[in-house]
């Protein structure tokens, strides 16, 4: 007989926080981009790029800090591709995001064969070569910080304006394209940090498709949180809790794991359909902005 306390106890809180960390970083990253009007389905791919680059550089140099820096640079580069395609060439944002996600299923596997002779993973790091827990603190600090930036600074006001009504922002003298570039790049930094945390913080190597859909879960949290930083944080914690419980129940309780893993996805669909509250995505989300010339 198993007790409920085997599943629900103090250490569950710890694992919830650890599992929620990459979701928070990626979801808040997505928030910047989507608040500025650029859909960021590419979170998954950017996370993978950060995870792989971080693990590969940490393995080559022995320094997790160099790994983290490299991961952030990779995230910036990938986000720049997304931004240029969506903003400059006005391509379909969902299609570009999907392409980036597909790209980073392939790139890590391709490079790991050439550079590490493996089929998709990087060499194992020593325990002391992993990143310390500071990304967890960053994740929890970035939420109030983002709240403040979004609602109490000029930058935040402009960001939201660009996502709600780019024409009005433009008329008001805001450089729509520049704001959007910055927003997408910020999302790239944060999503890559999330990936680096997965690969060289929580684990000690990159494995094939190690994000396993966390980029999409982060996106789901963003929608559930109605593009609001604090509500998004709560959604991430909830999904982290679901994952923590599902890991604990493995082999202990005879409830199939598959069903617990489905919870975030089903919940997102229910919320999107408007059964729980209403969703208010930024008004100009997904629309390229064409400056009027006269």
């Amino acid at each position: 007989m198993i007790n409920a306390t085997d599943i629900i106890n103090l250490s569950l809180i710890g694992s919830t926080i650890r599992l929620a960390t990459p979701l928070i970083l990626a979801a808040i990253g997505g928030l910047y981009s989507e608040r500025a009007g650029i859909i960021n389905i590419a979170l998954e791919g950017i996370m993978l790029s950060g995870a792989f680059t971080g693990a590969a550089i940490a393995a080559k140099t022995g320094s997790p800090w160099l790994g983290l820096i490299a991961a952030l640079l990779a995230g910036l580069a990938v986000a720049l591709v997304h931004a240029v395609a969506c903003i400059k060439y006005r391509a379909d944002q969902v299609v570009i995001g999907t392409a980036i996600n597909i790209l980073f299923l392939g790139v890590p596997a391709l490079f790991s064969k050439a550079f590490f002779g493996s089929s998709g993973s990087t060499p194992q790091l020593e325990i002391e070569q992993r990143l310390p827990n500071f990304l967890i603190y960053i994740a929890f600090l970035i939420v109030p910080f983002t709240y403040f930036v979004l609602f109490y600074t000029r930058f935040g006001l402009r960001l939201r304006m660009v996502g709600e009504s780019p024409e009005a922002a433009d008329t008001g003298g805001v450089n729509v394209e520049k704001m959007r570039y910055m927003a997408v790049l910020i999302s790239g930094l944060l999503a890559a940090a999330a990936g680096a945390y997965l690969a060289i913080g929580q684990n000690s190597l990159f494995t094939r498709n190690m994000t396993a859909g966390r980029g999409y879960i982060a996106l789901a949290a963003l929608i559930l949180g109605n593009w609001h930083p604090v509500k998004t944080l709560l959604a991430c914690l909830f999904f982290g809790l679901a994952e923590a419980i599902s890991i604990r129940m493995q082999g202990v309780v005879d409830i199939p794991n598959q069903f617990i893993q489905m919870v975030p996805y089903i919940l997102t669909m229910i919320v999107l359909a408007g059964f729980i509250g209403r969703v208010h995505p930024p008004k100009a989300i997904g629309q390229p902005y064409v400056k009027e010339r006269r």
């Binding site: 299609v95 999907t98 596997a109 998709g120 789901a220 893993q261 489905m262 669909m269 359909a273």
Partner: protein, 356 residues
């Protein structure tokens, strides 16, 4: 003539550009791009075996390409073909190992199961979009994960043979096997190697191309669907039921993705095998974009991607630097270039103002 040139020019540019970027990546990982591409195309098109494998790998991509395209034509992006084909393949297998009757009954029932299951799985996000306005992109992504979960649950707990270490169902009955190409071509006097996996599924995929063409351009429903895709408000103003078109488009999209289950389960593996799809649903997006959402273009694009899959298997063997993952990378880059059509705008003649 000008129309054909225009239709072919951008996809060709996109493919060539992607191959150039791919060549740089091959150089980066330390192999010779010319040698790599030579292996790719020699293995895919050099022999009868190669061509038939290329067509076999192209079959699921024709189906998913059509699936994505029919939704695109209605202004919808179906990222859920992957989930739809997984559910469909499982449904086909379920009928195949549950019903032990004559082949004249069990084969059609398996096919119907695949088509209906895929159609329902695609129809749900369509219905949610039509009824509640919730975005089909998010819902189809979510439903991909739900499909994987449900099917792996039933496979693991109910339909796996005891002691089987592989996550797959028990085999379907022998009557449910659809004929392979050698059985189809034998009455015509053509001698085709019996061990090649190309099967009736390929013929069905070609028929699907024709059906989709006729539906989209020769029927009222197809016309309405395209009208909604061009401009939903104008379509509504013109008296078209937009909601109905959205639901129809998504149901058909899912049903077309479901055809993959026929090729895979009834024609090749003869069981449901967890994880059988090498991202066919996502490659379908690349196929549809490259094929410009037209059945003929999709057919050609699917063959290109099928040849890449075939070549990838050989690259894995013949290169110790490059792996078959180069194929996935090329796919992604092709999507990037096709989606960024404006990138090639420097090649276009300067606009003369109006529509010429």
């Amino acid at each position: 003539m000008q129309r054909i040139v225009d239709a072919l020019l951008f996809p060709l540019l996109a493919v060539v550009s992607a191959f150039l970027v791919g060549a740089v990546i091959v150089l980066l990982v330390g192999d010779n791009p010319i040698r790599v591409y030579e292996i790719f195309f020699a293995s895919a098109f050099g022999t009868v075996d190669g061509i038939s494998y290329t067509l076999f790998y192209a079959t699921p991509l024709i189906c998913t390409g059509l699936a994505v395209a029919i939704a695109f034509r209605c202004g919808l992006l179906n990222i859920g073909a992957e989930g739809q084909l997984i559910i469909a393949a499982f449904a086909a297998a379920w009928v195949g190992f549950t019903l032990d009757t004559s082949k004249w009954l069990v084969i059609p029932l398996c096919m119907i199961a695949a088509i209906v299951a895929g159609g329902i799985w695609g129809g749900i996000p369509g219905l949610l979009k039509a009824r509640f306005g919730s975005h089909e992109v998010i819902n189809t992504i979510m439903m991909n994960f739900i499909a994987v979960g449900i099917v792996s649950y039933f496979t693991q707990y109910y339909y796996r043979l005891p002691g089987d270490p592989i996550l797959q169902t028990k085999p379907i009955v022998e009557q449910a096997h659809i004929p392979r190409m050698n059985a189809i071509l034998a009455p015509l006097g053509i001698d085709f190697p019996a061990w090649l996996p190309l099967n009736l599924g390929f013929v069905i995929a070609i028929i699907a191309c024709v059906v989709v063409y006729v539906f989209l351009w020769k029927t009222k429903w197809g016309y309405e669907l395209r009208a909604v895709g061009v401009n939903p408000s104008a379509a509504e103003y013109g008296g078209i039921n937009v909601s109905r078109s959205i639901v129809i488009a998504m149901c058909l999209s899912g049903a077309l993705a479901g055809l993959v289950g026929i090729n895979e389960v009834l024609g090749y593996r003869y069981r449901y095998y967890d994880g059988f799809s090498a991202g066919y649903g996502f490659t379908g997006i690349a196929v549809a974009l490259l094929g410009r959402n037209h059945p003929l273009g999709i057919f050609l694009a699917a063959i290109l991607f099928g040849s890449l899959v075939r070549g990838g298997l050989f690259i894995n063997i013949f290169s110790d630097r490059v792996s078959k993952d180069l194929v996935v990378v090329l796919q992604a880059i092709i999507i990037l270039f096709v989606a960024c059509e404006a990138f090639f705008s420097f090649l276009q003649k300067p606009s003369t103002g109006g529509k010429s």
